[in-house]
Amino acid sequence: MAITGVGITTPNVAPADPAQTATRRRHGLHRLLVNGKVTSGLVMLGVLTLIAVFGQALAPFDPSKRSSDILQSPSLKHWFGTTHIGQDIFSQVLVGTRSVMFVGFTAGLVATIIGVVIGVTSGYLSGSAAEGLSAISNVFIVIPALPLIIIITNVVPNSGDWTIALVIGFTSWAWGARLLRAQTLSLRRRDFVEAARATGESTWRIIGFEILPNLTAIIASSFIGTVMFAVATEIALAFVGISGISEWNWGEILFWAQGQQALPQGAWWWFVPVGLCIALLGTALSLVNFGIDEFVNPRLRASGQSTVKASDGSRVRMKVGFTPVLADPSRSKEIGI
């Protein structure tokens, strides 16, 4: 039936598409890093980490050392001003970074490890043990965290950074556990897990090599969430004077500022730089988390250009329900992809 009647007339054919180069597929870590939010968040975190490590060395003064420069506003000598007994606030901020970062990341690590163990086990296994673990995490979510932490910190002797980090870590794993459990439950029913079982993989290998790698994004995001919570909690504890006064941290600067009535005296520099540092750290962590959210849920990704020129010349926002009709329907010009 194939009638080959070549060469009658060549109709008005559109020019042929040029051969396409294979599109580079981006995936995994690389795609996460090209996300601007993640990169800028990580850069900010990197700077703060450097300060945490080298803060002691960089600090121009001993943060606890008194001087005659009492309650001075920011100057070239004291970038963030001084306290009521002449301590250099800039040095305090630099030195205090370490404790904040240490507690934040240690607590985050502890909570994430507990969360992963409890969440993934209760998600993958079934039966009453799993139900019990899930009930316990729900209890820990509902119980008000800060009062509980305050009480425990108050009861435990020697509340140094390690203690605080551990207390926060041991009380704030439940959110992560809950998220991971939900995700594990849905992964467990996925065919690739069944397929791994059918192939003959052992249970621990399925959990470790089939399920866990698929949870990376959620683990990272729950880790960052816990770090945010731990930082806020540590600063709050220091601010109300519950944790020990052995090491400098940002909350402690605020504690002294509050105790010495800094704001009523107009000593804004005692509060504002520290507050901005806290906000900076929080924003950096949030940015990374936004990036991870967008990585996990592609619908959240911004679609680049959000407005187009419509056929009537006006600019139209791209939105669900009303597909824009492009202005220039030049049909001869095929869009080069």
């Binding site: 597929r25 690739f192 069944e194 397929a195 003959g200």
Partner: protein, 345 residues
Amino acid sequence: MTVTTEVVLAAEGLTKHFPVRKRGRELLSRTNHVVHAVDDVDLVLRRGWVTALVGESGSGKSTVARLLAQLYPRTSGDIRLHGESAAVSTARGGRRFREYSRKVQMIFQDPFASLNPVHTVRYHLTRALRIHGRAGKGKQELHSALAELLGRVQLTPAESYLDKYPHELSGGQRQRVAIARALAADPEALLADEPVSMLDVSIRLGVLNLLRNLKERLNLAILYITHDIASARYFADDTLVMYAGRMVEGGDSETVTQHPAHPYTRLLVDSAPDPDRITGSAQGLVQEEGVGEPPSLITPPDGCRFHPRCPFVMDKCRTALPPRFDVGDTETHWAACWLFEEAKA
């Protein structure tokens, strides 16, 4: 079609009831509700032979495959490998299960879901080879084993597929990788759960032909599960029909599809699209039998499970469960329907 080969895998009285979560007032009552997903299923898979299992979604056909793969624990019944009971007591892990999985492998419906998105083709196949001790010694042997596997499913050259992630492959290529993974164990029986239903129409045939080719070359026993009765006719030697958790009809594929005996099979065959019935606008569609939907499997109807929809329903159908009756047209053709009671006598 009287050549019968050796039985590789047999199921006897296979039954699976899933517990239902109690709700509300039931918490106080003693009755335990279950979903009767699969009830009393007998089937055999023969060497070099394709057996099709046809049914609607929810009829329990996928559960049968998972029971045969021993991914689910059975409620009752037995699974025999070469005549010996091969039932593993718990569905989880264990050396006995691994031994069983060396002989019986499964292919899943959705190749987009059955490969782990974070692992490469190489990882999937290497694991399958390692588990079953067929990875050989050293890199060289492993590589040739991988290349041979991919060659079997016509993915050549192997180098251009080994380091790809699943999302870099098309649907058909993924399903071939999944088949290669199943073959890595060098199994005797292959359970294919709707292996082509998620693939594009134009490439389905390629995968089915590959399976048929493998069956002939490797002398595999294949269970082909499908909702498309026409493809059962094309691809399978025997066809079994399942409705609401029970087998209702069986026999050689040509007879079952061309001369369906059970009223449900007839409904299924009549409902299938038929391009030869060209009518312009589907006038041939006007007929009013078999309306309604499949029953709840929590409280399945007494007697024959098809009786509420059956146009030929008799009093007996409502109370008594029909056993298998010979239909009489071919040796192997049977139907679980009271209409064929006399034919047996």
